[in-house]
């Protein structure tokens, strides 16, 4: 009762499977040999950030050593905004 067509094709099918398996294995080996340049660059950036303590996403030209630098800048920004609105009010009042 076995399907008649299945038997004669078995050798052909097994051959194909062997080829697929061989391709799969070579692909794995090939991927392993290559150096992951992009991953290495990402890792390098991460390590450099940690060592130089550059905040993530900060321009490299910014000086990261002076920790107090960002704080006055941050305090300057809110101070600058009311000053602008105040001057606008003074101008509009008279």
């Amino acid at each position: 009762m076995k399907l008649a067509f299945a038997k004669p094709y078995r050798h052909w099918v097994n051959g194909c499977l062997l080829a697929v398996a061989a391709c799969g294995l070579t692909a794995c080996v090939t991927i392993n040999i290559y150096f992951p340049a992009a991953a290495a660059e990402k890792a390098a950036d991460k390590v450099i950030d940690e060592i130089w303590q550059t905040p993530a996403g900060q321009a490299p030209s910014h000086n990261p050593d002076k920790a107090p630098n960002p704080t006055p800048k941050e305090s300057n920004v809110p101070a600058a905004t009311p000053a602008v609105t105040l001057s606008v009010n003074q101008e509009s009042a008279p």
């Binding site: 399907l3 097994n14 150096f35 390098a44 390590v47 450099i48 940690e50 130089w52 490299p60 030209s61």
Partner: protein, 160 residues
């Protein structure tokens, strides 16, 4: 009894046999696919591991030393070399009394950098990648250096 069933639903038995036959033929393929998926998962985690205890220790040591080295980078006394290390570029910018300390600082930094490249390669199971990792770092140190630092490009020192 079984012959009656066969007559009633002959396609059912054939379907079962066909399914079995398919399984026999394709079980290798199924195994290969499972193996492939597993290895793909391994490769998908292609990020380089930089968090082993050895690498973390080197990073901490370099982080502390950076506070001492930073003024020398800015003055131009120490520069970043093209091969991923640091070197005394102009010792004349440092008072005589501090020069031996500076030399020691540069020597320690370079020892740590060598350990860092080696450690990352080893942490990822490919000690032979050390050279490539060092080249990658050499490029990134220079790219990310602050304006005013001395960097080595094409064998020439230049102020960034």
């Amino acid at each position: 009894m079984s012959s009656i069933i066969k007559i009633r639903k002959p396609w059912l038995g054939k379907l079962q046999l066909f399914t079995l036959d398919c399984y026999h033929n394709f079980k290798h393929l199924i195994f290969v696919m499972i193996f492939g998926l597993l290895s793909m998962q391994v490769h998908a985690a292609a990020d380089l591991d930089v968090n082993t205890p050895a690498v973390a220790a080197v990073k901490a040591s370099m982080q502390n030393r950076h506070q001492l080295l930073s003024p020398h980078y800015l003055s131009g006394a120490v520069g970043l070399t093209a091969d991923g290390f640091v070197a005394v570029k102009d010792a004349g910018l440092v008072p005589l009394s501090q020069r031996s300390a500076l030399t020691a600082l540069v020597k320690d930094e370079n020892a740590d950098r060598a350990k860092l490249y080696q450690g990352i390669a080893a942490a990822n199971g490919h000690p032979e990648w050390e050279g490539e990792i060092q080249r990658t770092f050499a490029q990134r140190w220079i790219d990310r250096a602050q304006a005013g630092w001395m960097v080595q490009r094409d064998g020439q020192w230049a102020r960034k």
